[in-house]
Symmetry: C2
Subunit: 379 residues, 2 copies
C-alpha cells in the first residue's frame, strides 16, 4: 500500500518565512517536516518536527539531510544542486526537480529558456564581466543583473552612463532593456506529477523603490480580462515547458503598450502569493504541498479582495524587534498579522506581513494604507 | 514599556487538538508557547516552543509549569485548580480565571449558577449517590450526569426505569428533566479583560448517538433571527455574569416549543467552533488569544456556509492510523482537512475534523454528507 501524506517525511531546504508558512499548512496533514537552515534561530526552528542547523549549499550536508526525507523541497533557490541530483539518482523525490532549480538559479539560462520557448521577455544579452560593458554597444540606460545569487533587489542595478559601469558587478551578468512598465504583476501556477495545473488569479504589485521589495500587493487584479487571460496562459505555458512539479511564481511586467513581458521565475512559494492564505480558497502553501505530494490541486478562486503588505524593519532600528501599534491595527476588521518569528530587526529585513481583506476593494486599499503607515517594526 | 504578545510566554495546560489549533494561530504572533500534557506524544508536542510531559492534575507539576509562563490558559477543564489559584495569588495571569474553571468543572455548581442568574436551563436536582435515586421522587425517563470529569458523552446516561438505576454512577451527580428538543445549538462568546465581548453566529449541531459526540455542525444557523438573538443574548449574559476572560462555548437546546435552554459551558475553544477557522473572519482560536492577551476582539462574521464534521476512528480499528479516501475528498473544492497529529486510532477517537465551505448551503451539506461517508480513519 502506498504511503500517504500523513506517513511521509518532507525535507525542506531553508528554514525562513516561506518554510514556516509551508509548515503551518503541513500541520493539518500530520506531515512530518525536517528543516535544514544555517541560522540556528531560523523561523522554522520551533515548528518543524526536526530542525537541523547546517549549510544548504554544502554537498555533504544537503545530501545527508535529504537521505532522511521521503520528499525534498526548497524555500530558496540557492541550494546545492549536485546533492539534489545525487538524491534524485537514488530515487528520492525532489520537487521542484533539481533540473528546474538549476535553470532558474541562473538568470541568464532563465532568459534563454524564455527565448527558446517563445515566452515574451525584455531583450537581453549575456555579459561575462564588466569589461564587456565598456566595450559594448548597449544604449544607456539599461538594467544589469547578476546571473546568480541575486534576491530581494540585490544583484540588480540600473546603468545610466559610463560612470555607473565602474560600479558594475564583476561576475557573469546579463543586461536587459529598460522596460517602461505600467505595473508589475504575478501569476502563481501549480503543477502536480499527474500534470494537472491550476493558476491563482493574477495580482498587482507595488515595490518599495528604496528597498526594491514588494511592499504592497493587491488581489485580484482589475486589469481587463483579456490581459489577465494572457498572463494566465503565459504562466501555464512556462509550467508546461518546465515540466515542473510544485508551485511556480511568474513575475511579469505590463508595459505601457499593454504587452506582457516575463521578468523572472521562482519555483517555490513566493512573496506575491502570501495574500492567498486569507484571500483565496486554497493558499499557495497548501497548493505547493498538494502539488509535490501529487494530490488534487485546490480551488484557487479569490474569496475576497486581499491586500498584502510586507512588514519591513524600520530604517535606523537594529536589535530586538517590537511591533509598534500592533494593537491599533488589530482593532480593524479583516486585518491578519503574520510575524515570522525573527527575534532581531534590521533596516528592510522582512519581519512579517499583513493581509487586509474586505468585500469592498476601495475600503481594503484604505485600510492597507493605514496599516502601512501605522504598524512599524522597531527595536 | 509593557511587554507585547510577541515577547510573552503562554503556558497551555493540555496538549491535545485544541491546544494544537491554538498554537497554529499563535505562530502568527511570534508567541512563545509552553505545553504541559501527560501524553508524551500529545498533538502539540512538535509545534510548541517547549513541550513538557507531566500531569495537569498534580499541584506541584502545574504550579512549577505555570511559574515559567507569563499567561496560563487551558484546553481542558480537568486541571489542578489549587495550583492555578496559587499562581494567581503570585500575580500570574490565568485565563480563564481559576474561579471560572472551578465553577464549570462541577456541573452541579454550573446548574446552580444558571439558576441564580436566571439563565434558562432544564429543571434539575443534585444527588450525592445512587441511593438518592431509588428513594427519589423523579419520574422516568430522566438524564443522569456525573458532576465532575464527564466529557465527550462520558459521565452522562439516560435513566428509563428502576433497572437502569442499578447501573447509575456512584459519584455526586445531578438529574435533569429529559428535554424534548428540536436541535442542539451553540454560541461561542469571547470577553477580554477590558470587558469587550463578541459572539460568533449561532451554529446547529447533530450528534452521533452511539458515540455521543458532535458529528456534524452547520454554520450559520437558519433558525429565525429572533431565536438567534435570544441565544446570542444568553451567551453574553453568561459571559458577563462569569466575568470570564477568554472564550466561552455555550451549548444549548432549542425545545420543540421554541424555547432555549442552556445545556452546559466550556471555558475554552470548543468543538462547536472548529468551523470558524475557514468559515469566519476570525477563528475561535485566534479570538481566544485576543481575549486573554487583552487585544481587540476580531470580526466574528461568517464568510461562507461552513459544515464541520469530526473524523472519528472507525469501529473495529485499533492501531497506526490511515486516512482512507483522503485523496478523493481533497479533490472536492472547499474541503479543508485538519488532522490532529495522533499516531494511533481507536474506535470513536477524535482523529481530526473536516470543514466544508460553500456559498450554497445545500451544496455544502451535500458535500459534507459525501465526505462523512467517504473519508474513514482506519488502521
Amino acid at each position: 500500500m502506498a504511503k500517504q501524506i500523513s506517513e511521509l517525511k518532507l525535507g525542506i531546504l531553508g528554514g525562513g518565512q516561506l518554510g514556516r508558512m509551508l509548515i503551518q499548512e503541513a500541520i493539518n496533514y500530520n506531515l512530518t517536516t525536517l528543516v535544514l537552515d544555517p541560522d540556528p534561530d531560523a523561523p522554522c526552528k520551533h515548528i518543524a518536527n526536526k530542525f537541523e542547523c547546517g549549510s544548504i549549499t554544502d554537498f555533504d550536508t544537503v545530501y545527508n539531510f535529504g537521505k532522511k526525507a521521503d520528499i525534498i523541497t526548497i524555500e530558496i533557490e540557492k541550494v546545492n544542486i549536485e546533492a539534489l541530483e545525487a538524491l534524485e539518482k537514488e530515487g528520492k523525490l525532489v520537487f521542484p526537480q533539481s533540473r528546474v532549480i538549476r535553470l532558474i538559479q541562473d538568470k541568464g539560462v532563465q532568459k534563454q529558456f524564455f527565448k527558446e520557448n517563445d515566452i515574451p521577455t525584455a531583450p537581453f544579452q549575456l555579459v561575462s564581466s564588466k569589461n564587456d560593458l565598456s566595450n559594448g554597444n548597449f544604449s544607456f540606460p539599461y538594467i544589469l543583473k547578476q546571473r546568480k545569487d541575486g534576491y530581494d533587489g540585490k544583484g540588480v542595478m540600473k546603468i545610466n552612463n559610463l560612470a555607473d559601469v565602474d560600479h558594475a558587478f564583476e561576475s557573469p551578468s546579463l543586461i536587459e532593456e529598460l522596460i517602461d512598465f505600467d505595473k508589475e504583476i504575478a501569476v502563481i501556477v501549480a503543477r502536480n506529477a499527474n500534470g494537472d495545473m491550476k493558476t491563482f488569479p493574477m495580482v498587482e504589485m507595488e515595490f518599495n523603490a528604496e528597498a526594491n521589495l514588494v511592499e504592497f500587493l493587491i488581489s485580484p487584479s482589475t486589469y481587463p480580462e483579456d490581459l489577465q487571460d494572457k498572463a494566465d496562459k503565459i504562466a501555464l505555458n512556462i509550467a508546461s515547458a518546465l515540466n515542473i512539479t510544485g508551485i511556480l511564481a511568474v513575475e511579469m511586467f505590463v508595459t505601457r503598450d499593454g504587452d506582457i513581458l516575463v521578468n523572472e521565475l521562482a519555483p517555490r512559494p513566493h512573496n506575491s502569493g502570501h495574500q492567498t492564505i486569507e484571500g483565496n480558497y486554497v493558499s499557495q502553501f497548501e497548493q505547493h504541498l498538494r502539488a509535490i505530494f501529487n494530490l488534487p490541486l485546490g480551488d484557487t478562486r479569490s474569496i475576497n479582495n486581499a491586500i498584502m503588505i510586507n512588514l519591513l524593519g524600520e530604517k535606523g532600528h537594529d536589535g530586538l524587534a517590537r511591533y509598534e501599534n500592533l494593537e491599533k491595527v488589530m482593532g480593524i476588521d479583516g486585518v491578519y498579522i503574520h510575524l515570522y518569528g525573527k527575534k532581531y530587526t534590521k533596516p528592510f529585513r522582512k519581519m512579517g506581513h499583513v493581509t487586509i481583506v474586505d468585500q469592498n476593494r476601495e475600503k481594503a486599499i484604505e485600510k492597507a494604507r493605514y496599516v502601512q503607515h501605522t504598524l512599524k517594526v522597531v527595536s
